[in-house]
């Protein structure tokens, strides 16, 4: 992969630390700006490379907050986040984040293909335009998710499921190593659900690391390598199946 000429943020070039887990958080405390009490209260999670980790818990337990913090969208009050051994922001290109659908301006005059191309921007940086390779990647991803016939459409004209697939397409186009998926199959039609599961399986087979906030543990045929349960901003229980080990609040029961 070519490095960008002028990256969006400094420290972009940090290489993965050898032997470091894909994601490691230590006593992570996150407070939303303006909120009085923290949304995450000392979450320690370790997800090793190539693991599919499920993040489960009731609404408001901090699943989305956790993913947002790892994606660098929320300030860390205390504790630490390490992605491949580096702090958040040192390797933006290795982390892709699939937000919930409501966080984007769907009325914006941009085509589906261009939206997917924005997934390549992190590799381009300032003053560079998407090249042929970027377009090829976007086209391939759109085809894979069954959106190729809609590539020229304005994004607001898609159905909910198609919009979700478009966002997933963008995350895939980024070719990241760690993917943070926030409720990827929530409220979508059956076809989209199947497409998303297929994509997740193939990511797993490629050895990518996935952290998936979900209500549905039967996803991926129940083949999550690890399950992290959150409740009220704390790790409730952790599975000792390969990959995850909670430190602070180890499962005792």
């Amino acid at each position: 992969m070519k490095d960008p000429w002028i990256p969006y943020s400094r420290g972009w070039h940090a290489d993965p630390v050898r032997g470091a887990p894909a994601l490691l958080t230590e006593s992570l405390v996150v407070t939303y700006p303006g909120a009085s009490c923290p949304a995450l209260r000392g979450v320690s999670v370790r997800v090793s490379c190539g693991t599919c980790a499920a993040l489960v818990g009731p609404n408001g337990s901090g699943k989305s907050t956790f993913l947002k913090a790892v994606a660098g969208l929320l300030p860390v009050a205390s504790g630490a986040i390490r992605v491949h051994g580096n702090p958040v922001g040192a390797c933006h290109h290795r982390v892709a984040y699939l937000p919930q659908r409501g966080e984007i301006d769907w009325g914006f005059p941009i085509s589906v293909e261009r939206l997917v191309l924005t997934g390549r921007y992190v590799h381009l940086g300032w003053l560079a335009w998407p090249g042929r390779r970027d377009r090829q990647i976007a086209t391939a991803v759109l085809e894979r998710l069954g959106l190729d016939s809609l590539a020229g459409q304005q994004i607001g004209k898609l159905s909910g499921g198609q919009q979700q697939r478009a966002l997933l397409a963008r995350a895939l186009a980024q070719e990241a190593d760690l993917l943070l998926l926030d409720e990827p199959s929530n409220g979508v039609d059956a076809r989209t659900q199947e497409t998303i599961y297929d994509a997740m399986r193939s990511l797993r087979n490629q050895g990518k690391t996935l952290v998936v906030a979900t209500h549905d543990l039967t996803l991926l045929d129940g083949a999550f390598g690890a399950v992290v349960r959150l409740r009220d901003g704390e790790v409730e229980t952790d599975s000792s199946r390969n990959g995850v080990a909670g430190k602070e609040r180890a499962w005792t029961g």
Partner: protein, 297 residues
């Protein structure tokens, strides 16, 4: 055709046309971003807040453009900064700052003797554009259009999906500051042609018209630029023939174009309600969803 060519035999009309087209195109292209980001109110505020800067520059014999730009830039930064802190609601902050600045401008104006000169600031004086002004306007046009071209993908992304921008390390507020800076520049040149009060029309009307006609950014920019050019020519000709205010004539031509586009759009929707359902390439929502449902069953 003579009535169309005749006015532009005069040098002052040639200058006016060049100025109006340069300003119009710059504002229209920038306006596409402004309209899309719902920043129309800020554009208006920036235009109005230049007034005290203009008057002070006039009093001290400085360059009017620089005075106006300084005031607009200060306001832009202030608004950007205030909206970042969320201490005051953004539109309220803008309302307070811009009316205050405008009132200060009017107050200063009423204290100066050459009150008449300053009405040019309120309503513009495109017929009085000097060669020097033209260089300034051309320079601003070049800077603004170049910046919009260079940073197009970042401006587009931070407006469409600021979350993704943030995730890849691109700070949305920086792009917003850039846009505010460009806006301040464009507004100062707009004041030359149509004046403080009507500058926002050059920013908003052609861009809003283009938004009715296309759902792609580049097309909107091109359409907006073409519209602005046509309206400049039409407005200036009209004002020459009918001996009316040139700035107002240009703005009214833009308004007429907007109304025509709106009417055309409504008519085409009413006449062909199924117009947007083509064969396969772009399936609208309901068809695609119906297909998905049938596939699921």
């Amino acid at each position: 055709m003579d009535w169309l060519i005749e006015p532009f035999r005069h040098v002052f009309m040639q200058h006016a046309l060049l100025a109006a087209v340069l300003v119009g195109v710059t504002c229209a292209v920038l306006g596409v971003h402004v309209v899309q980001r719902r920043m129309a109110f800020i554009g208006d505020a920036l235009a109005h807040t230049t007034l005290p800067g203009l008057v002070i520059a006039h009093l001290f014999g400085w360059s009017l453009s620089l005075g106006g730009f300084g005031a607009a830039l200060a306001t832009g930064l202030l608004i950007g900064w205030a909206s970042r802190r969320h201490a005051v609601k953004e539109d309220a902050a803008i309302g307070v700052v811009f009316t205050g600045m405008f009132a200060l401008g009017v107050l200063l104006m009423s204290r100066t003797r050459s009150y008449r000169d300053l009405t040019h600031m309120l309503f513009g004086n495109v017929l009085g554009v000097t060669t020097e002004d033209l260089w300034f306007i051309g320079g601003v046009a070049a800077v603004v259009l170049l910046c919009l071209a260079i940073f197009h993908k970042e401006l587009e992304l931070t407006a469409c999906d600021p979350t993704h921008a943030e995730v890849i390390g691109l700070r949305s507020d920086r792009m917003r500051f850039l846009l505010l800076g460009l806006l301040a520049l464009a507004v100062v040149t707009g004041i030359q042609t149509v004046g403080v009060i009507l500058t926002n029309a050059l920013l908003i009307t052609p861009a809003a018209t283009a938004a009715l006609l296309s759902d792609r950014m580049p097309w909107r920019m091109l359409l907006g630029a073409l519209l602005a050019t046509a309206c400049s020519v039409a407005g200036l000709t009209l004002s020459y023939v009918a001996e009316t205010s040139s700035g107002a004539a240009i703005v009214l031509c833009c308004t007429a174009a907007f109304m025509a586009a709106y009417a055309a759009r409504s008519a085409s929707h009413r006449l062909r309600p199924t117009a947007s359902i083509p064969v396969t390439k772009d399936k609208p929502n309901k068809v695609a969803m119906a297909e998905e449902v049938s596939r699921c069953n």
